[in-house]
Assembly symmetry: C2
Homo-oligomer: 328 residues x 2
Amino acid sequence: MQITILGGGGFLGQKLARRLAQDGAVGGRRITGLTLFDLHAPPVPMAPFPVKALGGDVADPADMAIAIPRGTDAVVHLAAVVSAQAEADFDLGLRVNVHGTLAVLAACRALRKPPRVVFTSSVASFDGGQEARLDDDARQLPGNSYGAEKAIGELLLQDASRRGFLDAVNIRLPTVIIRPGRPNKAASSFVSAILREPLLGLETTLPVPEEFAVWICSPRRAIDWFLHALAMDTAPLGLDRGVNPPGRSATVGKMLSALETVAGPAARALVKHAPDPAIEAIVGDWPASFTAARARNLLGFSEQESLEEIVQGFIEDDLAATRAERGI
Amino acid sequence: MQITILGGGGFLGQKLARRLAQDGAVGGRRITGLTLFDLHAPPVPMAPFPVKALGGDVADPADMAIAIPRGTDAVVHLAAVVSAQAEADFDLGLRVNVHGTLAVLAACRALRKPPRVVFTSSVASFDGGQEARLDDDARQLPGNSYGAEKAIGELLLQDASRRGFLDAVNIRLPTVIIRPGRPNKAASSFVSAILREPLLGLETTLPVPEEFAVWICSPRRAIDWFLHALAMDTAPLGLDRGVNPPGRSATVGKMLSALETVAGPAARALVKHAPDPAIEAIVGDWPASFTAARARNLLGFSEQESLEEIVQGFIEDDLAATRAERGI
């Protein structure tokens, strides 16, 4: 099985690459090669198969033809400009998030055999806000450019799947916590920061009230979902390639309680309230909960673990590397 | 008021141009100039204001910058590759229906004042089929490339409206009957043909059963909706720029009865049953009915007239021209 990860230098791309290298197989199929593509050639893990690292532009069809060469069986398309950045720079978001996915589609269509495409869409493609608990057939009415661009990507890949150009699973990722490294340009960056920064012994700010609920998943869960989507039978999806995976709806207050349970009250005390209407305007529109019935009952996506396990998982998987990266 | 009609050479574009020329104003605002744009420079009506005809490529940003010059107050974007053609030629559909709308967006964004954009989306962007009666918040899960491309256009223009680049009204047009001229490449072409061809004294075929229901509107109604959308207050639309206008759900049998009422049993006898699974596969997926509650109760879109009035309207407006065009 020949796999390409677009956005392979990102935090989830690197985690997936390391997991593939460790497992050597996906769904019982041996991996024969892996290509990691990002703006700059990404770090390559030790693996029992050849790994190629490429740097380029996801919106350039020539670069995509190289990143997705003949023989590619699966593409994991994680390359994106994130929410606050797509809001700040419309042209960049459109280029990477829309023209990028168009270039991915063209490269996949040029293959002899339609590849599996695992595409990360987002909770940000929906509206509804704090009161929402969305069913699987909920309409996507995005209140931000990132969400609109992700919904467009879904439509492109859904139609391309129907036509047999490729075989897509569009996973609407919840807000992934706890992101390692530094705060990023996602509007939801704070949801990770309020847990990560205290674990590093650093103060951080909370831009929303503690009652504010977020639809979340852990990096471990996201990687498990990608592996499942790479190997699953897509026939039960039918026309509808969109999957709302079984994340977890949690208030910021519950997250901070989990932090306190795992790391003590001193950690929690490092989180200071500092309301930010710009951030709340973006994330406040995203739905706080989904039924995720199809993913759970029909498609076999695994359940999200507890908040305490998420905090513990970060300590085990990412705390040391984050300390090293940031010189703490 | 300076107006551009993209797809101004098409059947609805020409009707709208003649109506604007006749009225000289929209919503009480005097028209100061009209630009008609299509693949080839369209025919120009006699008008009390300057009318410019341009030929070009809607997907070419340079052509769009000329078609939508500084000072443009409103753009009616009707330019599209229709359903069966977009299904037969994926690249052409993507170019005109997606890259075209991207170029329209870019040209509108370059203006000093965000223009009103009236965009024709389609019932084909929905699924649900014969049993469906869709609410205004129904999800668009298109089963054809044309519908996917229209849904993508809506997302682009909805987000551009939210950002203040333009001010869009995305009208999901029902199947418009009775189209004048010749059969076209829309999968729904037969819905007009079963009424038009007998009125011309010609035999035609019906590819679906008489119980088959279609969500329809007349050309007169479509033009009225465009005029309303050009002048309406868009504030009540909020984030949601999609409008399901109040068309009419009618079975093919009822349409043929209306034909018989207006033109006699000899006309109806010219329609021969000839099942076509390819056509039924496309149109059979489109919903047969909408509640259209928002358009009716909140937005002031006018109601569809009766089937008999639709047949009579074609005779009054288009029969002579269609005879002349086809040399009948």
